[in-house]
Amino acid sequence: MTILLKSPDVTKSIDKLASLIFNDLQGEEFYVVGIRSRGEVLGKRLASVLSEKLGTEVSSGTLDIALYRDDFDDPHGESLRAVGITDLPGDISDKVIILADDVLHTGRSCRAALDAIVDFGRPAKIRLAVLVDRGQREFPIQADYVGFTAEVGSDEMVRVSFKETDGEDLVCVVNSDED
């Protein structure tokens, strides 16, 4: 196990993400929507940092993508999780949506998230914010805002922990079979 980001680094990366978003979207009305489950925490954190920066409340929500995944017949890991509720802050039509996820890897979760979100309405635009971009994309998807870029082997996975869900903020690399 190799540690990529310790607790203060996680906070720094989130702050960095918030600044990127702030600079890019100043003046526009947007919602932060986290992809369940770690993206949900990231989204909430981003929203709270952005609220401070903007001096006005930024709404955040949660998107459950279980029903939109492309691995139904090849189930593993995340896809075995229960179907959860998508909890959006309001009508997303004509809004700017910032999709938040902890790790960008193959791009498949993001693809599912895009399909899921358009079933709820027609946003003006969608931006993608990720805490860690670990490369090795399988789909033509890139993040608009990246907190940290990591070089990670194909047999390794990036594990993100948040104090809200796991007790501490931590990003580390583990072997796939350790998980």
Binding site: L67, D74, L80
Partner: protein, 324 residues
């Protein structure tokens, strides 16, 4: 929002045959999953692509517009293809056997069979003999699991939990699959169930079930938090278990008069279709305590959850088989 279960839990059943064999955890998992689906039914785009390319066959050997439509809609909202196979026949009629019929459908590549059949155990039989996932939509007077799931789902929506609730199930217990599935689901979720019916409509050795038994609705009505009025199935009552509708309704019908003695917030349920004026008075069926239409709406979410879960488990089993 319903509390989420342990992350460690994994649904593994490819068939939903009955609730008797399910654990509390499994039942709650279905209900939680149904919560995720209830949302889809409220959106403007009421569909998810989850079961795209899967074939669901509604195999109905008994009339049941409501359950069949509910399953069809559930499957469609998950983007599955649906074939309707309806054949009205008695459980004992000759001709093509259930297995032959099912094997034919299997040859067409069916992924899920939703089976309604007049013989108890028909779903179990299919699950042993064909490869598709089987969802029991009612077998004889054995079980009707999705009906009971939508019933407890509806109760949970109103009360948060069934723990400690006093629930009365009134009517033809002996010939009712709804009663049996309800007994298992409700007692597993912690409710205290009382069966209310004339002795001629009670099954043999009913006292061995985890329930209380009463022959007097007036004796129990005051204490009930929920009352589930079963439909008197006249087509099944060849044995003439009570003298007349009028006499039945006098003792076991849910009338406005009886409702006056019930708790103010009692939940009134009925699996439908109702015989208004027999087991339930119209004013009660349409009254403020009635959740009968909610039950119908919740049925779609629950059935979506079930179709999703059995297909998911089937995919998992198939994958593990591939590995070996």
């Amino acid at each position: 929002m319903i509390r989420r279960r342990d992350k460690g839990f994994k649904w593994t059943r490819k068939h939903l045959i009955g609730l008797r064999e399910l654990s509390r955890e499994e039942i709650e998992f279905i209900l939680d999953t149904a919560d995720g689906f209830s949302q889809i039914n409220k959106r403007s785009i009421k569909k998810s692509p989850t079961l795209r390319g899967k074939l669901v066959v509604n195999m109905f050997f008994e009339d049941s517009t409501r359950t069949r439509n509910s399953f069809s809609l559930a499957a469609s909202r998950l983007s599955a293809d649906v074939i309707e196979f309806t054949k009205k026949s008695s459980a004992l009629s000759k001709g093509e056997t259930l297995l032959d019929t099912a094997r034919n459908l299997e040859a067409m590549g069916v992924d899920t069979v939703v089976l309604r059949h007049g013989a108890g155990g028909a779903s179990k039989l299919l699950s042993r003999k064909i490869n598709a996932a089987i969802v029991n939509a009612g077998d004889g007077f054995n079980e009707h699991p999705t009906q009971a799931l939508l019933d407890v789902y509806t109760i949970k929506k109103h009360r948060g939990s069934l723990d400690g609730l006093k629930i009365g199930i009134v009517g033809d217990i002996a010939n009712s699959r709804v009663a049996r599935s309800n007994i298992w689901a409700m007692t597993k979720l912690g409710a205290e169930v009382t069966l209310v019916a004339p002795p001629t409509l009670m099954p043999p050795q009913v006292s061995k079930l985890p329930v209380r038994v009463s022959y007097d609705l007036d004796e129990v009505i005051e204490e009930l938090d929920v009352i589930n009025m079963l439909r008197i199935q006249f087509e099944r009552l060849s044995s003439n278990p009570f003298p007349s509708k009028r006499e039945y309704s006098k003792w076991f019908g849910l009338t406005s008069e009886r409702m006056k003695r019930a708790k103010d917030d009692i939940i009134v349920m009925h699996p439908g279709p109702m015989n208004r004026g027999v087991e339930i008075e119209s004013a009660v069926a349409d009254g403020k305590n009635s959740v009968i239409l909610e039950q119908v709406a919740n049925g779609i979410s629950v059935r979506m959850a079930v179709l999703y879960l059995v297909n998911k488990a089937a995919a998992q089993i198939e994958k593990e088989r591939g590995k070996r």
